[in-house]
């Protein structure tokens, strides 16, 4: 930095102490990023003091098994929310995917691996429908995915005849198998979920594709003016999210060992909860997938810890609601300070 440039910096700067202002905003950003982690730690410390069974490898392995399906769903949800969209259909699309996979394999005799691929394709197709309606007709994501939520729900029940599909081929439940680290049993599905978070982090932060997801959520008009095909990118986002829900369907099957038409109903909103608790802004352009992982863990730890304490499960729902409102308020206040 040369002397003249420093002078120009002073000349360009607004008179009201820009340095202080900038530092204040930065600390606001830091708070938004660290907040979820602090919340997770506080919740963990609290449960450690309340139950001796909480802080153990076995219990954490269990928590992770419980949140891996939600976590995987929340990855797809995060990418959509980063574009300032929302997906109300994620859990039911996953349920439909799991029914397609299991019913094809068990009732129609389709080879399991092919059945899984078809299930992934069906979920991707739902994403394409969501994305197509959002980008071509310009419909709000909220309404589009509300519609596909109903459609996926109905198709799940029509196709399954309301019957749970069991006796699955072993390939389909392979991700539910465990391996031992010391005395702790860990499922392969948990590893797949963690790997998905790793890949999503990489794509969102290190690649052109990911940077454009943020840009679209932040200022779609500026992104379009810079020559980026916003429609195409948005469509891809919804398709990718759909395929991720398909992988979540496979994790779901491996965990429950059945194709359950009633699965995934609470996951629609839980996935949004995980995203919001993880500090991603519903207004788009801000947030991280690592935050979402922390958000999903907060949901999982709350459920687990309250069960260990012998608290009725409905209180966990109450606390989740309060946390969601807190998280969104922090986001809104941070945005106002910047405006």
């Amino acid at each position: 930095m040369t002397h003249t440039e420093i002078q120009t910096a002073a000349q360009m700067a607004p008179p009201s102490g820009p340095e202080d202002e900038r530092r204040g905003l930065l600390s606001g950003d830091r708070l938004a990023q660290l907040g979820p982690l602090i919340a997770l730690l506080v919740v963990c410390i609290f449960f450690t003091t309340q139950s001796d069974r909480f802080l153990s490898g076995q219990n954490f392995s269990l928590i992770f098994q419980q949140v891996m399906v939600l976590g995987a769903l929340a990855i797809g949800q995060t990418i959509i929310v980063l574009t300032a969209g929302i997906d109300l259909s994620c859990g039911t699309v996953m349920a439909f995917g799991s029914i397609v996979m299991t019913k094809l394999a068990v009732d129609s005799g389709v080879p399991p691996v092919l059945a899984i691929l078809i299930g992934l394709l069906v979920c991707g197709a739902f994403g394409a429908v969501n994305g197509g309606l959002v980008t071509r007709l310009g419909l709000p994501p909220f309404i589009v995915t509300l519609g596909t939520f109903y459609i996926a729900f109905a198709l799940t029940h029509i196709y399954s005849n309301e019957e749970t599909i069991s006796n699955l081929p072993s390939v389909m439940t392979a991700l539910g198998n465990t391996f031992k680290v010391g005395s702790t049993a860990i499922t392969y599905g948990s590893l797949v979920c963690l790997a998905m978070f790793g890949v999503a982090w990489f794509v969102l932060t290190q690649t052109t594709w990911g940077r454009r997801v943020y840009a679209i959520g932040d200022n779609p008009e500026a992104t379009r003016l810079m020559g980026i095909n916003v429609r195409k990118q948005l469509l891809m986002v919804y398709v990718v999210a759909g395929v991720i829900y398909g992988i979540a369907a496979l994790l779901l099957i491996s965990r429950t060992s059945v194709g359950d038409p009633n699965a995934g109903q609470t996951d629609n909103l839980d996935a949004i909860t995980a995203v919001v608790l993880g500090g991603t802004s519903l207004f788009g352009g801000r947030g991280t997938v690592i935050g979402t992982l922390i958000g999903a863990l907060i949901v999982g730890v709350l459920r687990n810890g309250l069960v260990l304490m012998g608290v009725q499960s409905i209180y966990q729902v109450l606390i989740t609601g309060i946390l969601v409102i807190l998280a969104v308020s922090v986001d809104q206040i941070a945005r106002r300070r910047k405006a």
Partner: protein
């Protein structure tokens, strides 16, 4: 001025654009010469934004021709114009506020890492982009130290500075500034005008669309006055007063293009 002997960087001859019965561009001519700031002014509805849209590819003219460096050019979209080396700065601060300065400068033109990291994994080269961004900002003497700073932490003038730096960084032929100071306060406008001057001094001609007559007179080398869908006159701040220019713009003064008593820069 000796502009007549030089080839215009961007030239339009007899442009026409009709929307049904409305003629937005009615046989308009236009010339931008190397190394100049050409202000384009005109009353509301004079068709000056249609003209600029035709020059930047946002509107396809029905008739007439556009020449870039003396060669015929047809832009079917703003992206094509951009590929030809024409960059545009918009009044409404077309930057992504949550993203950092380097990312904004490279939006849509991200630099990838060398080798398989870039080609297979499609990784962006963040450090190279930051370094290049820092150079571009320094070229215009915009003294912002950190390229990883989010644009929303900057003042309005600095944000427009980012947009100007981005245009100057990518433009090979010229920069179009569409009301770049309209959203800014007095002091910040002054800073942006200074940046526009630096862009010209660094070798890029600038088309400046502005409603602000004092700004136009402060920095324009020539002034293209648009009226009733065509060019009414080209004058300079040295030969004409603001009052006279407003007169030509509103039609109160009829300016004789064939026998200009005071105007120059036109043949």
């Amino acid at each position: 001025m000796t502009t007549e002997t030089r080839t215009p960087v961007l030239q339009a001859k007899g442009l026409v654009k009709r929307y049904g019965h409305v003629t937005a561009i009615d046989g308009a001519d236009f010339e931008l010469y190397p190394g100049e700031i050409l202000a384009v002014i005109g009353d509301n509805g004079a068709g000056k934004s249609s003209l600029i849209k035709a020059l930047s590819g946002a509107v396809i003219p029905d008739a007439g021709e556009i020449l870039l460096d003396g060669k015929p050019a047809q832009f079917k979209s703003p992206i094509e114009a951009r590929r030809a080396g024409i960059e545009t700065v918009y009044q409404d601060l077309a930057v992504a506020p949550a993203l950092d300065i380097a990312t904004n400068l490279f939006l849509g033109r991200e630099q990838r890492r060398k080798g398989p990291f870039g080609s297979v994994l499609r990784m962006v080269d963040k450090s190279a982009m930051k370094q290049t961004a820092s150079q571009h900002m320094a070229n215009l003497q915009i003294g912002i130290r950190s390229m990883s700073q989010a644009v929303e932490t900057l003042s309005g003038g600095q944000r427009q500075g980012v947009a100007v730096a981005r245009a100057a960084a990518w433009a090979r032929k010229l920069v179009i500034m569409d009301e770049p100071t309209a959203a800014l306060g007095v002091r910040e406008s002054g800073q942006v005008l200074e940046l526009i001057r630096r862009v010209r001094d660094n070798g890029l001609p600038v088309i400046l669309i502005s409603h602000n007559m004092p700004h136009v007179f402060e920095i324009a080398d020539r002034i293209h006055i648009h009226r009733l869908g065509r060019r009414a006159a080209v004058v300079t701040p040295q030969t004409h007063t603001m009052h006279e220019v407003v007169g030509i713009m509103t039609g109160a003064v009829v300016h004789d293009l064939e026998h200009p008593d005071k105007a120059n820069g036109h043949h």
